[in-house]
């Protein structure tokens, strides 16, 4: 135990010797900062500019400054609010499923059993499948109402077939996205569990703690940081789910699976309404930031920088 103290590295104070290096240092960071700054600011400024205009690519000559007109129009469009609601439902339910199940599975795969390495590799595989492919597999081969495997199984059991994308469209999307991301949560949480001090677990077990209590009071607190990281990264991706919807339901039926990303896509590339889409895009930026600020803050505090 004492050896770890002795070998602890104390990084030398960064200043002093740095004068010789100061210019290179700045020059080394600058390229990354500049391109990211451009990537952030240029499109945002353009979006703000477009959002203040009537600008439809089909009738470009009819372009004029309309002030906040686009925002008024968009914010009073019930479809926008539906899509925001769907976005939030989608994010929250997939987060809940992947983190909840991911934690349980991490505990399971932390146990030693025959062929665990292979089983784990199989279990995390969906994470590497591109979203367009996974959407197509689920849509055509599993959830298809006539030939899909699920339909064949339920019919075989005499239950009839479920037309997943017509009857339970949002649930279908939630299932697909959860399948893609459960492996990610499992992978991260499993790694976190493996770093748990076994002595501590053993001590608690000696004191007569039951498995459930061990999980609740030892394992879960240990995982809190990993869970925060998973939640943050997943939220970034879930707020902008697109390919799965594009390939399966196209946002329908009606607006049942139109999330904010898809709503803006419809405005921009199908209605060619640049002004409206830009206004919607800015609303998406605001929403993402509201959700993200809180998450990044809580996670960034934990990161070792």
């Amino acid at each position: 135990m004492t050896s770890s103290v002795a070998t602890t590295q104390h990084s030398p104070p960064p200043s002093k010797k740095r004068s010789r290096k100061q210019i290179p240092t700045l020059a080394l960071v600058a390229p990354s900062v500049i391109v990211l700054l451009l990537w952030m600011i240029v499109p945002l400024v353009m979006a703000i500019w477009f959002s203040l205009q009537r600008y439809n690519l089909l009738i470009p000559e009819n372009r004029e400054f309309v002030g906040l007109g686009n925002f008024v129009f968009i914010l009073t469009d019930p479809a926008l609010w539906t899509s925001i609601g769907i976005t939030l439902i989608l994010v929250a339910s997939v987060l809940l499923i992947t983190i909840g199940l991911g934690t349980l599975l991490a505990v399971l795969y932390n146990q030693d059993f025959f062929g665990r390495g292979i089983a784990r590799v199989l279990a995390i595989s969906p994470f590497f499948v591109m979203p367009t492919v996974s959407a197509l597999i689920w849509k055509n081969m599993l959830m298809h109402p006539v030939n899909g495997l699920f339909a064949q199984i339920t019919r075989g059991l005499g239950l009839g077939a479920i037309d997943w994308f017509a009857d339970l469209p949002l649930l279908s999307i939630i299932i697909i996205v959860s399948w893609e991301w459960l492996p990610f949560a499992l992978l991260i949480l499993l790694t976190a569990i493996q770093s748990l001090d076994t002595d501590q677990l053993e001590a608690a077990r000696m004191d007569g703690a039951r498995p459930l209590a061990l999980f609740r009071f030892v394992v879960l607190p240990h995982l809190s940081r990993a869970i925060a990281v998973v939640a943050m990264i997943e939220t970034i991706f879930f707020l902008t789910i697109f390919a799965e919807i594009f390939v399966t339901t196209g946002g329908g039926p009606g607006l049942a699976t139109t999330n904010l990303a898809y709503y803006i896509y419809l405005k921009a590339l199908l209605e060619f309404d640049v002004g409206g889409a830009s206004a919607g895009g800015l609303i998406a930026v605001v929403l993402a930031n509201l959700v993200a600020i809180f998450l990044v803050r809580s996670v960034a505090r934990n990161l070792d920088t």
């Binding site: 080394l28 590799v121 081969m141 940081r225 921009a268 640049v274 889409a277 998406a284 930026v285 993200a292």
Partner: protein, 273 residues
């Protein structure tokens, strides 16, 4: 003892059951790719059948498949190389010569990931059109580089942080220049970290669908767009779709299997060890 034994059995059973359930859609796709189109949609599903390679042959014959695959390779590698070229110097400077602004810069970089793509879809689309980058590989390379750059910087930064400072100090005493230090000492030491960073960047670029679907039509469209074209009703050939999908995901799946350990560290920026 019997109790412990049955518990062991239960865990093994559960572990494998979960693995097979999660892997099943991929397995089913893989199996279907060796069926004839008739067998692929047969009711009830055929578990035993005469495997055929005709779907793979058919996909090969659609010469366009290789156009898409080649685009995927070029775009993923291009974006990864570019991101590494930008990120390595930045991560080096921030890891070894931190200033009071370093932490803020890092968090700001990550925050650019929060910018939802749809929020800037229209401006980027118009910019790409005006600059002639619409439906070009260069256009996607630039965008994927920018999308992945924050994560690449973070990952390399966290790997550089683990390199013992003494080694670099000793080298500097011997009069090594910044360039020598970076190329001859630091890069060899952190090669595994940089490799796993590159791997993740390739995986993310390979699978990215939003920009590829919206900014490409044919010339520069990668496999994500190719596969999406199967979603139209006339494209509904399950066995061929399965073969094409298998070919589209196989390289990345194998990459992922081989690098899963390192990926975790990278994905969480070293916050989860």
């Amino acid at each position: 003892m019997a109790n412990k034994n049955s518990r062991q059995w239960l865990i093994t059973l559960l572990g494998w059951l979960v693995a097979i359930i999660l892997f099943f859609p991929i397995l089913w796709m893989f199996v279907t790719s060796f069926k004839t189109e008739v067998a692929a949609v047969a009711t009830p599903p055929q578990l035993f059948f005469q495997p055929t390679l005709e779907n793979y042959v058919a996909i090969q014959e659609r010469a366009s498949y290789f156009n898409y695959a080649w685009n995927s390779v070029l775009i993923s590698l291009g974006a990864t190389v570019l991101a590494l070229l930008l990120a390595v110097p930045a991560a080096y400077a921030m890891a070894f010569f931190p200033t009071s602004r370093t932490k803020g810069t890092l968090i700001w970089m990550l925050s650019t990931k929060m910018l939802p793509p749809v929020g800037v879809l229209v401006p980027i689309y118009i910019l790409a059109r005006e600059t002639g980058l619409l439906d070009t590989r260069i256009g996607l390379v630039i965008i994927y580089t920018l999308i992945n750059l924050p994560i690449v910087v973070w990952m390399i930064y966290s790997f550089f942080k683990e390199v013992p400072k003494d080694i670099l100090e000793a080298d500097r005493m011997d009069g090594a220049t910044t360039y020598q230090e970076l190329v001859h000492v630091l890069l060899p030491l952190s090669l595994p970290g940089i490799a796993s960073t590159a791997l993740l960047s390739i995986i993310l670029s390979w699978n990215e669908a939003f920009w590829s679907l919206n900014l490409t039509t044919y010339d520069s469209a990668p496999l994500t767009a190719f596969i999406a074209s199967f979603s139209s009703p006339q494209g509904l050939f399950w066995a061929k779709l399965s073969a094409a999908s298998t070919m589209a995901i196989a390289p990345i799946l194998i990459f992922g299997w081989l690098s899963q350990r390192q990926l975790v560290r990278g994905l969480t920026f070293g916050a989860v060890k």
